[in-house]
Symmetry: C2
Subunit: 385 residues, 2 copies
């Protein structure tokens, strides 16, 4: 592991090596306890100890190096202590590579009537059985350590959108106090890291104050949270333009819950290194495919006798082995294989997009790549038969 960027206490935590830059964009290498991650990276979401519908071999084959687990789901079922007794999340779900876990905050906050936030933390009732649970900054860190996450996220409040500046400031400042408590609770170990999360809604001053507060505490990486919640791409990019320059250059930057392919391209151009989003998996389950030519709805009747692959240029097994007519049929008769095959395709698409972005940065031609990407997306799907 690189010793280039030691953290306080002389513990290397997670190494991040900057390999190339192109404008604000960065090409990097993250080194974790469970292996390397080439950045910019897209993290496939494996909510409850599984990427829905795929074996871990199939996830790996898509090009994924790191996956994301959800603390909220795992703390309820099967329970963090149980996962620890079973050897940790990697072993439990047969994913030997790096895992990032969220703090559970985002899901808990979205429970609305079932949760209550105080300075101490958040109290909520399980959506499974109504049982009451407490999630404090200290417990969120403990759970993620029990899961054996390579990257632990601080507990924060994802500020609702829209929020007035006063509400956003209050929420952000509490999240910063929670971040300091998480840093205190976190056990520093080589190859393991804790990421802080910048909040502050759409207010540049709050975002800068949040970035400054986190940098003063010191984290292995810095996430930008509270985006992709309805503010739109333009506002999201404005927040990134205001926030990213205030983050340390020698640490990875993670844009949480983003996003559509065009969001990712724009965020990479603005200096983001890591992403996660349920779009490729969730869309895959409902018949929506991502392709170079934009998104395609396989439920549409125009695919009924189309013997062409979803994307003739895609190297994934779904496009190599199956026609649009077959995929359409599977969704029409509600067969499990439809979601399986389309999720697999979408994960390949996202990973191939990330590989393209990484290569473009290495070759100092990211702006050309982004322009080509936009042009292809706008060109539209294959012509009707």
């Amino acid at each position: 592991m690189s010793e280039a960027t030691p953290l306080p206490g002389d513990n290397p935590g997670i190494a991040f090596d900057l390999l190339a830059e192109d404008g604000a964009a960065r090409r990097g290498l993250l080194t974790t306890a469970h292996g390397p991650v080439q950045t910019p990276a897209f993290m496939t979401v494996g909510t409850a100890g599984t990427v829905k519908g795929l074996t871990s071999e199939a996830v790996r084959a898509s090009g994924a190096e790191i996956i994301l687990g959800n603390t909220y789901h795992l703390m309820l079922r099967p329970g963090a202590e149980r996962v620890a007794r079973l050897g940790g999340l990697h072993r439990f779900m047969n994913w030997p590579g790096p895992i990032l876990t969220d703090s559970g905050g985002f899901q808990v906050m979205s429970l609305q009537e079932l949760r209550k936030i105080t300075e101490e933390g958040v109290t909520f009732r399980s959506h499974f059985d109504g049982e009451r649970h407490d999630l404090t900054p200290e417990r969120a860190v403990e759970i993620q350590e029990l899961l054996d996450a390579d990257i632990t996220m601080v507990l924060d409040e994802c500020t609702p959108f829209p929020a007035g500046e006063g509400e956003a400031r209050e929420s952000m400042e509490r999240s910063m106090r929670w971040a300091a408590r998480c840093r205190e609770a976190f056990t520093r170990r080589p190859g393991y890291g804790l990421f802080g999360i910048v909040q502050g809604s759409v207010y540049p001053d709050l975002r800068l104050a949040s970035a400054a507060a986190l940098t003063a505490i010191g984290f292995d990486g810095y996430a930008v949270g509270g985006l992709a919640v309805g503010e739109g791409q333009e506002a999201m990019f404005e927040v990134l333009d205001a926030t990213v320059p205030a983050l340390p250059t020698d640490r990875p930057r993670y844009l949480m819950g983003v996003g559509k392919p065009a969001d990712i391209v724009g965020a990479v151009q603005r200096g983001i290194d890591m992403f996660d989003c349920v779009l490729p998996t969730r869309s895959g389950r409902t018949g929506q495919a991502f392709t170079r030519r934009g998104s395609v709805n396989l439920r549409n009747a125009r695919h009924m006798e189309d013997s062409r692959p979803l994307d003739p240029d895609c190297p994934c097994p779904t496009c190599a082995d199956h026609s649009r007519a077959y995929l359409h049929h599977l969704f029409r008769v509600k067969e499990m294989l439809g979601p399986i095959l389309l999720t697999r395709h979408n994960l390949y698409y996202y990973q191939e997009l990330m590989a393209g972005l990484r290569q473009a940065i290495e070759e100092q031609r990211l702006d050309d790549f982004a322009a080509d990407f936009a042009q292809q997306q706008a060109a539209g799907d294959l012509p009707a038969l």
Copy 2:
């Protein structure tokens, strides 16, 4: 293809080579237009153009050589003519190996209030949209030829159980007249075959009359139908004891819709060569696993922290990669991966059972194999932790 057993008209149809015998049991090789099938064989059910939850690569990896498609489902969605325009069922579902299709009769008969049987055929309403369809012997053959099935089954009535002897005779005799019409309608092609179906409920005289009627017409293979419908294993074996000796020795024998592992072992001992059943796939989707030690319900709480594989001696990827605790978790939180992993295991189990039966026949030790099988099944699951 072997020319050893020509059918009427000098067309070889489907070749069947008898490689070894052990008592009444047979070890054979079926040669179809889409490849060979070692018998005794278990045919995995791929109802609507997919083995539920598995890619065709995963099905093939389980050891499956031949799969079964359901005419009823495929004639409604996506439609036989559409499958033909898309290059046939093999290409449509990416299964290059042999396919047997049923005639649609079994599913149509079970529609109860939605169908009407006459001498001409059966009229029914689709369970999708209520649309009216006619299925005659001639149309059943035409549909299966459009699907490009290697083995076509005659349209018959699966006589309800229980049935009085008069009712069973009437039903069987109509099925024999339909079988003759199917033979007439079937296009003889090398590597493609038509199988007749013996009916007659639990009445030995009727079964013998049915076998004689079919043998007089002449088919590429002979199925025993109307069993595994509630009569119990003892009655089923009695029917086989009465029926199988009346079937031609140089043609494959197929016991339809059977069955549990112990049913298959007993039927192989009685001279059956081919089987199909939804048990391994359907049970896999509901958390029920087949193992050497009998069946195991993964939903049971005793598996919650069991880090052992489902079956320590099983070579399947599910047992190699995953614990009982993980499988239990997946079913508990209703994740798709649970059905996927357990279906995969069950298919390996069935194929391994068939491989064991084939080897035992070759080595003239089938009775010992059957005794060991029964003893292992009775021994029960792994001891609790």
